[in-house]
């Protein structure tokens, strides 16, 4: 059975983690660890993919007598779990392949190798878990192993702070989920998911559960305003782990949200959708704006994860709203869009992080202002990063466009919803989605253009060499997935049909049967898209144009100095930088969103002090939400500090007072 194969793979990963601790000092260990991780992930991917395609009504359960004595550990493989396992294992396999290729650039393998397979195992286990206890335990295991990986290079500036913030946010998330499952399980404590599914919570309980699920899963996924740890922690980890954290672990969080809200809680109220839509829309726009202001390649990518998680939650919010109104077709469309974007984002975000990792390992730089011209020295990496950039910017014919197109189509179904709030919200969410897509394109013109194009800004960028073949292979695998999912989306939508059916009890029409592989979400007169035809047309048109011109017009080329309107300047400083590229957009949005302030010091003529220019940006959410919380915690801690220095009499009074108070509360409660 597929689930047994999966659990054996996970056992192999965990065993490797233990072995890696023992053999951390041997050079062969890293090869062994990544080989096992690669094989286990590939086997897992193949098994789950085969199971999902061959038996759409997949439901394999397994009970292991470990964990709580009266509960044991329940595991279950259903279509929803299978879809997310594909995401986890595809990301795992490519990250392992990259790790295998790039293993020599890791200076402290002992801090990475034991945790990498454990992290992979943890993510697989969360998705397989079928009772609240196993879910929470493996969730925490996943958090802690990833935290250890974030702290792998803890001596670098800022990484310890990143680890601290991450640990706090992860604890908050797990605490919320703990309370969430506690409420769902009820006073009898039926922790198996089956028991939770059959116990329908009252509307008030359900509201609290939704809030806790948003807090718990949203903090792990990076939903605004819980996103603050992502841009700190994701870049701090080694690059292939960043790819896993940003591309895959955030998806495990989405899985947690879908499992709780769609599956375990049962039918819901329409306003759930409105709440989720608001958070999704805010994440989409703020994530990309933050990314635009960022000049650190990996931090930029981490902020983009916030944006894409926002897009996924827009899809989920729409699905909730449609489901509450018994609109199976639109709900299926919105859910398909969200799940397809989950898959797509995991692919191109892993790809981009691996590309950024290749740049980092070959130049030692993450700051875009110190890169440039890498397309000449690292052509294959540049190509892969370019395709990833086009895909994440939602440009046809790549995969990112298809899922965003489906999300748009789902938004266009909202007039049929009876609730006024949703009707007013829908155009605003549509505008937010449109704005985030356009800004993402700007952001990736900046990211690719400044890092890979132009002239090298430092000698590190000047002397870079192409990265190794295995790392390139990992990237090229993801490139081909981006392209295939973009031009043949029908097959992917069909593969998602059983998943969508299991979650919102409806699915899109079968796409593979349509002529010319066009995708038609609702009806052909309404909307359709054909990535294959588009790709073929563009390729043919470009080939014809270039052939005709080279054959009959001219193919002469002369190399010369750049023209630049007659005043070419050899100085590298005259190039556009990331900061200057983003300046117009900063002028448009900066004051409102970031409280942007520019400080220019221009000494008068004759003064030999250098001129200086500084831009100050503030994260308003950090200022408005986290700083006050930090202050309150500080003030309370100082106030409570007195309790540490009481006399014995004082302590006795305090303890008996507390006891009496608790008993009194209990007596009143009963």
């Amino acid at each position: 059975m597929a689930i047994e194969v999966l659990l054996w793979c996970i056992a192999a990963l965990l065993g490797t983690a233990v072995l890696a601790v023992a053999g951390a000092r041997q050079t062969a260990t890293s090869m062994f660890v990544y080989m096992v991780a690669l094989v286990a992930s590939t086997v897992g991917l193949g098994t789950v993919g085969w199971a999902l395609v061959t038996s759409p009504d997949l439901a394999q359960a397994l009970h292991l007598p470990i964990g709580l004595p009266w509960l044991g550990a329940h595991f279950r493989l259903d279509p929803l779990a299978a879809a997310f396992l594909i995401v986890v294992n595809l990301g795992g396999a490519t990250a392992s392949l990259y790790g295998l290729g790039d293993r020599r650039s890791e200076r402290e393998p002992g801090r990475v190798l034991p945790f990498f397979p454990a992290f992979l195992a943890g993510m697989n286990l969360v998705v397989l878990a079928d009772d609240a206890f196993t879910f929470l335990l493996t969730w925490e295991f996943m958090s802690l192993t990833s935290w250890a990986l974030v702290m792998a290079h803890h001596r670098q500036r800022g990484n310890a702070h990143a680890g601290y913030v991450y640990l706090l946010m992860a604890s908050l998330g797990t605490l919320s989920l703990l309370l969430c499952f506690g409420l769902l399980a009820g006073p009898e404590g039926g922790y198996a998911f089956d028991a939770i599914r059959n116990a329908h919570p009252s509307p008030n309980t359900a509201a609290v559960v939704l809030a806790l699920a948003l807090l718990g899963a949203g903090s792990k996924a990076g939903l605004v305003p819980l996103h603050v740890w992502l841009p700190l922690a994701h870049p701090a980890a080694p690059s292939h782990v960043s790819a896993l954290m940003s591309g895959v672990m955030t998806k495990v969080a989405v899985y947690g949200f879908v499992r709780i809200v769609f599956d375990l809680m049962g039918p819901g109220a329409w306003w759930w959708g409105a709440v989720v839509l608001l958070f999704g829309g805010a994440s989409a726009v703020l994530g990309v704006l933050h990314a635009l202001m960022e000049h650190d390649l990996k931090r930029l990518l981490a902020y983009h994860t916030v944006e894409n998680i926002g897009i996924i939650f827009i899809g989920l919010g729409l699905a909730l709203a449609f489901r509450a109104n018994d609109m199976a077709g639109p709900a299926a469309l919105a859910m398909t869009a969200a799940l397809f974007h989950v898959f797509n984002h995991s692919v191109f975000k892993s790809l981009l992080f691996l590309g950024a990792g290749a740049v980092l390992s070959r130049t030692g730089e993450r700051d875009m202002e110190r890169l440039g011209g890498l397309i000449h020295r690292m052509p294959v990496t540049a190509f892969a990063f370019l395709i990833g950039s086009a895909a994440i910017s939602a440009l046809p014919p790549f995969n990112g466009f298809v899922s965003e197109w489906l999300t748009f189509q789902a938004i266009l179904m909202t007039p049929q919803v009876p609730q006024w709030v949703l009707k007013f919200l829908a155009p605003a969410i549509g505008a937010a989605l449109a704005l985030s897509a356009a800004l993402a394109a700007s952001c990736f013109v900046k990211a690719f253009g400044i890092s890979f194009l132009g002239r090298p800004r430092t000698s590190a960028a000047q002397n870079a060499k192409e990265t190794d073949a295995l790392s390139l292979a990992a990237m090229l695998v993801l490139v081909s997935v981006c392209l295939v999912a973009g031009i043949l989306p029908g097959y992917f939508i069909d593969a998602l049909a059983p998943v969508v059916q299991s979650v919102v009890s409806g699915h899109l029409p079968v796409q593979a049967a349509l002529s010319w592989l066009t995708i038609v979400p609702i009806a052909e007169a309404r909307s359709s898209y054909n990535g294959l035809l588009l790709f073929v047309l563009i390729a043919t048109a470009a080939t014809i144009a270039s052939y005709v011109i080279h054959r009959w017009a001219s193919q002469a080329i002369r190399r010369s100095a750049s023209w630049d309107c007659g005043f070419p300047d050899a100085g590298l400083a005259t190039q556009y930088t990331a900061g200057s590229f983003a300046q117009p957009i900063r002028r448009v949005f900066g004051t409102l969103v970031f409280h942007a302030r520019e400080e220019i010091h221009m000494p008068p003529p004759g003064d030999s002090r250098p001129a200086s220019f500084h831009v100050y940006l503030r994260d308003r959410i950090w200022d408005a939400l986290y700083v006050p919380v930090d202050r309150i915690v500080g003030v309370t801690a100082t106030a409570l500090n007195k309790l540490q220095f009481l006399t014995l009499r004082g302590y006795l009074t305090l303890v008996s007072g507390a006891l009496v108070a608790l008993l009194a509360i209990l007596a009143l409660w009963q």
Binding site: E524, Y529, N530, L534, R558, R559, S560, S562, W563, P584
Partner: protein, 318 residues
């Protein structure tokens, strides 16, 4: 047989837009010159320019990469395909289910993405300034365009251009505030996207306010020719889009036969000429604005689009 005929008509449209695009550009230039009481170049001058550029050698900057050489063809192909899939003289052509309005907008986004990257490739200050400003403009213009698409699709119940055009031809439309707002918004977006006055000046070089010209400053010879052709195609595309959405009168429906195609083609060319004339008059009448006022201009069009969609929800909900 019918399939082959349909395919031929689609192919005809592909060739038609390619042939008409430089003529439209030349016509707009001619009208502008006449309005300024200049003689101006002949209307067919853009064809001559293109042919001349095609035959010239390419002078390539020393550090230009493969992307710089591939980009023009991709930009041209993407724009050409997008222009050929917008209904011009007939709706419901063979390939029209391949893309809808949203996909057309995204296709133009792909072309712009390549162009902005090409602007950064050589690493000159002018290329950077052009790319940076182009992306600032598009990051406001594209959402505005999508909101307009949103409004029209809600009205027609479809994002398919042929369906929207058919809906707009029917009597069910009536006068709607949303439509008026969308039309104004769409025209503003079209002006911005095609680098026309007051956003950008297509007839200038060596000016710190240029956007489109700054990006393509390093291009020469055949590369410049295909980029110029793509720019002409884009202008034609936007004009066709406005005509197809807001003035779909006289458009033939696929399979009506050659007589009606010929008539529709004639009507289309006349409509294009009127559109080009109005554009020239508008461009002559206004002054170019500062780059940092562009965001206000496009912010207005975004608000118009959003307002149009909201109004639709309000008026339809009852």
């Amino acid at each position: 047989m019918a399939v082959i005929l349909d395919a031929l008509v689609q192919l005809g449209q592909l060739v038609l837009v390619l042939l008409l695009a430089p003529l439209l550009t030349g016509f707009v230039r001619k009208v502008k010159s006449r309005l300024l009481r200049r003689e101006g170049p002949q209307t067919i001058q853009p064809y001559r320019d293109l042919l001349k550029l095609l035959r010239k050698e390419v002078v390539l900057a020393e550090n230009a990469s493969w992307l710089f050489r591939v980009a023009p063809y991709l930009i041209f192909a993407t724009t050409w395909v997008a222009a050929a899939l917008v209904p011009t003289f007939a709706t419901g052509l063979v390939f029209s289910p391949a893309v809808d309005l949203i996909a057309i907008i995204a296709l133009l986004g792909s072309a712009r993405f390549m162009l902005a990257l090409a602007g950064l490739d050589v690493g000159t200050s002018f290329g950077g300034i052009g790319s940076s400003r182009e992306m600032m403009i598009s990051s406001l213009a594209e959402p505005a365009m999508l909101m307009i698409a949103f409004t029209l699709s809600l009205l027609a119940g479809s994002t398919q251009l042929s369906s929207v055009a058919t809906y707009m031809q029917s009597t069910a439309v009536g006068l709607r505030v949303s439509l008026a707002l969308s039309l104004v918004g769409l025209i503003m977006v079209a002006i911005a996207e095609n680098a026309r006055i007051p956003i950008d000046n297509p007839a200038t070089h060596l000016e710190l306010t240029m956007v489109h010209e700054a990006m393509i400053l390093e291009y020469s010879g055949r590369h410049l020719a295909v980029i110029e052709a793509a720019a002409s195609l884009k202008l034609l595309l936007y004009l066709s889009l406005i005509l197809c959405l807001f003035a779909p009168w006289g458009v033939a429906i696929a399979g009506e036969g050659f007589a009606s195609y010929a008539l529709a083609l004639l009507i289309y060319v006349v409509k294009l000429a009127i559109g080009g004339f109005l554009l020239a008059v508008f461009e002559t009448a206004v002054a170019k604005m500062r780059v940092f006022r562009v965001s206000d201009f496009l912010g207005v069009s975004l608000m118009l689009g959003l307002l149009a969609a909201l109004l639709l929800f309000v008026s339809r909900g009852v």
